[in-house]
C-alpha cells in the first residue's frame, strides 16, 4: 500500500490519498494519470491491469486500486 501511495502522491502531491474516495468522481485523476498509474503499477508490482478492469470503481480511491492489485496478484 505504501508504494502505491507514493506513486499517487508523485502524481498529485497536494491530495490526501489515504482518505479520498472520489478520485474519479471529483475529477482529481485524469486520463494521463490513469495511464501513468497503470504503467507504474505494472513495473512496481509486476501486474498488468487488463482493459476491463480500467473502470471508475477501481480508481476512485487508493484502497480500491490496491484491492484490484491484490486481486490480480492472486490470480
Amino acid at each position: 500500500m505504501e508504494i502505491l501511495l507514493e506513486i499517487l502522491s508523485e502524481l498529485h502531491p497536494d491530495v490526501d490519498f489515504e482518505s479520498c474516495d472520489t478520485l474519479i468522481d471529483d475529477n482529481i485523476l485524469d486520463s494521463f494519470d490513469i495511464i501513468t498509474l497503470i504503467a507504474e503499477i505494472s513495473s512496481e508490482f509486476d501486474v498488468n491491469i487488463p482493459a476491463e478492469e480500467i473502470v471508475p470503481e477501481n480508481f476512485n480511491s487508493a484502497k480500491a486500486l490496491y484491492a484490484l492489485i491484490e486481486r490480480l496478484l492472486d490470480q
Binding site: H12, S31, F32, I34, A51, E52, I54, P56
Partner: protein, 504 residues
C-alpha cells in the same frame, strides 16, 4: 464562390433541417435549431451594438456552445472559446489580452465569470437564444462582411508565459474545411466522435465539416477517455464512424488490450494528429480494423488546422516513422535551411507553410506575429507571407514529408503543444524559486522540472496548478542545490536531460 463559413450552415439547413447536427449523451440539436439559435444570438449581439469585437464563449462543452460560436459569427464578431477547466490565471490573462465586447455564459459558468476581474458585459446563453430574429439587421452585417474578417481566436502556449491568440478568418477556415473533408471523405453518412476541447483548433474538423456536409457530431464526455472499454462502448452505441483524435486518446484504447475484447464496430476513418503515432500501437489498431482508413494529420494552429496528411497505405514496422505525407490541396510546404534556402533532397529543413490556410496572426501582438509570419525568402518580387512552424522535417526516399524534431523548446505532450519556456516563466515567478528549467523525457513522456530555491515541491506543484493547464503541469519535480550551467552561462539542458535517465 463561398465567402462566409455560415453559408455551410445555410445550405445544409435547407436540405436536412431536422437531422441532428451536434449531440452528447443527453441532448441533440438539429441543423434548424442550430440555425435559428445562432441567428437569435447574432441578433442579440447586434442589438447591443457589439460588432467586429471578440466575444468570449465561456460555456461547458455541449451542443449549445457550438450554437453560440456560430451566433457570434452571425453578429459579425469573432468568438473565443474558454472553459472552466482552464486555470483561472490563464483565463484572466486571456480576458486582459482580449478586452472582449461581451462574454456568453451558461448558468454554471456565469457564477465563475462573476469572480473574475472583468468590467464588460456578461450575457446568459438562455436569455440570448430566445431573442426574436431580426433578418434585416443580420442581412446588413452579412453585406458588410469580408472573407478575411476574423471568426475566432484560439489561444496557444507562448514561451514568454503569455498565451498567444491565433486569429483565423472565414477564408482560411473554408480553405481548410474544403480540403479536409475531401481527405477524410466526409458526407451525410459521417458520424463524428469529437474528443478535442472546443478551445483548440483541432475541434474545427468536426464542427465545420458537420455543417458543410450535413454530418453529425457526438461530443464524447471527457471522462470516458480514462476508461477504454466504456469509450469503445460509447462509439458503438452512437454508431460513430469517423474520429479525429490526438494520438494519446487512441493509444489509451490499444495499449491495454481493449481491442481484443471489444471493437469499435462502425469506425471506418481514423485520423490522428498532434504527435507521432507509435507504429506498435498503430499496428494493433490496423489489425483490429483492417478495413478502416488511417490518416496521419499534421499542422499548426497558425495555419488554421491541419495542412499535411498521410493515408496509411502500406505496412509499417516498429522503428519506422509514419510520414506526415503531403500538403492539402491549395497549400504548399517549403523546407528552408539555416540560410533560408531549400535544402538538398532528403536533407533537414524547417517546415514552412504557404497558402490561403495561413491565419491572420496573433491577436494584438504584431511583434510575435512578425517573427513567424514572414516574407517568403524564395520570393523577392512581391509581398507573400509564409508561416515558419519551427518544426524540422525532411523528405523520405518516397518523396513523403517526415517530421523530425523541433528547433526550439516546444514539445508535444498528451496531444498538446507546450512551450517548456512558459512553464519555466511561471515557476520563476514563485516566491522562493531562484532558477528553473524544464526538460522533456520523450521516452517516459514526462515533463520534468528542475529548480533551485527554498520553495517546497508541494508549494511549487500547487502554485502551478492554479496557473497552468493540466497538460502543462510537470510530471516530476526535482530540487537542485545549484543549476548546472554551460560555459556560456546558460542553463545546461543537455546535462539535465542526461540526468533524467540516471536518477529516476
Amino acid at each position: 464562390m463561398q465567402y462566409n463559413v455560415l453559408e455551410y450552415l445555410e445550405g445544409t439547413v435547407q436540405a436536412l433541417p431536422d437531422k441532428v447536427a451536434y449531440a452528447n449523451e443527453n441532448t441533440g440539436i438539429s441543423f434548424m435549431e442550430v440555425y435559428n439559435g445562432a441567428k437569435a444570438i447574432g441578433t442579440f449581439l447586434s442589438s447591443k451594438g457589439i460588432y467586429k469585437q471578440p466575444v468570449v464563449v465561456f460555456m461547458n462543452k455541449c451542443p449549445e456552445a457550438v450554437v453560440a460560436f456560430f451566433g457570434v459569427v452571425y453578429g459579425g464578431d469573432f468568438y473565443v472559446p474558454i472553459e472552466e477547466e482552464m486555470p483561472r490565471f490563464r483565463i484572466q490573462l486571456i480576458l486582459d489580452n482580449l478586452n472582449p465586447g461581451a462574454v456568453i455564459c451558461d448558468r454554471a459558468s456565469k457564477k465563475v465569470m462573476d469572480s473574475f476581474d472583468f468590467g464588460g458585459e456578461v450575457y446568459l446563453y438562455d436569455d440570448m437564444v430566445g431573442t426574436s430574429i431580426d433578418n434585416n439587421a443580420l442581412g446588413r452585417i452579412r453585406e458588410r462582411a469580408i472573407d478575411t474578417d476574423p471568426i475566432y481566436i484560439i489561444y496557444t502556449s507562448g514561451s514568454t508565459g503569455i498565451p498567444k491568440g491565433v486569429a483565423a478568418c472565414h477564408r482560411s477556415v473554408i480553405d481548410y474545411i474544403e480540403s479536409l473533408s475531401e481527405v477524410l471523405g466526409v458526407d451525410e453518412s459521417t458520424v463524428f466522435g469529437n474528443q478535442t476541447p472546443f478551445y483548440f483548433d483541432a475541434s474545427l474538423k468536426e464542427l465545420y465539416s458537420t455543417i458543410k456536409a450535413g454530418a453529425t457530431t457526438y461530443i464524447i464526455p471527457k471522462s470516458l477517455f480514462m476508461f477504454p472499454v466504456k469509450l469503445v462502448e460509447f462509439l458503438n452505441k452512437y454508431r460513430i464512424n469517423t474520429v479525429c483524435w490526438v494520438v494519446p486518446a487512441l493509444t489509451m484504447i490499444s495499449a491495454f488490450g481493449t481491442l481484443d475484447k471489444i471493437k469499435p464496430e462502425c469506425l471506418r476513418t481514423i485520423a490522428f494528429g498532434s504527435e507521432v503515432f507509435p507504429v506498435k500501437q498503430l499496428n494493433l489498431w490496423r489489425r483490429a480494423l483492417p478495413e478502416a482508413q488511417f490518416i496521419n494529420l499534421y499542422g499548426p494552429t497558425e495555419a488554421t488546422g491541419m495542412c499535411c496528411y498521410f493515408k496509411v497505405d502500406r505496412p509499417f514496422e516498429e522503428g519506422e516513422v509514419l510520414p506526415i505525407g503531403r500538403p492539402f490541396r491549395n497549400t504548399e510546404i517549403i523546407l528552408l535551411d539555416e540560410n533560408n534556402r531549400v535544402p538538398a533532397r532528403g536533407e533537414l529543413g524547417e517546415i514552412c507553410v504557404r497558402g490561403t490556410s495561413l491565419t491572420l496572426g496573433y491577436y494584438k501582438d504584431f511583434d510575435r506575429t512578425a517573427e513567424v509570419f514572414v516574407q517568403n525568402p524564395l520570393n523577392d518580387a512581391y509581398p507573400e507571407n509564409i508561416y515558419r512552424t519551427g518544426d524540422l522535417g525532411r523528405y523520405n526516399e518516397r518523396g513523403e514529408l517526415v517530421f523530425v524534431s523541433r528547433k526550439d523548446h516546444q514539445v508535444k505532450h498528451m496531444g498538446h503543444r507546450v512551450e517548456l519556456g512558459e512553464i519555466e516563466v511561471n515557476v520563476n515567478m514563485i516566491e522562493g524559486v531562484k532558477s528553473a528549467c524544464c526538460v522533456y523525457d520523450e521516452e517516459g513522456k514526462k515533463i520534468v522540472l528542475f529548480y533551485v530555491g527554498e520553495a517546497s515541491q508541494k508549494e511549487v506543484a500547487a502554485t502551478l496548478r492554479e496557473r497552468l493547464p493540466r497538460y502543462m503541469l510537470p510530471n516530476h519535480i526535482e530540487v537542485l542545490e545549484t543549476m548546472p550551467l554551460t560555459t556560456n552561462g546558460k542553463i545546461d539542458r543537455k546535462f539535465l536531460k542526461g540526468r533524467l535517465y540516471t536518477t529516476y
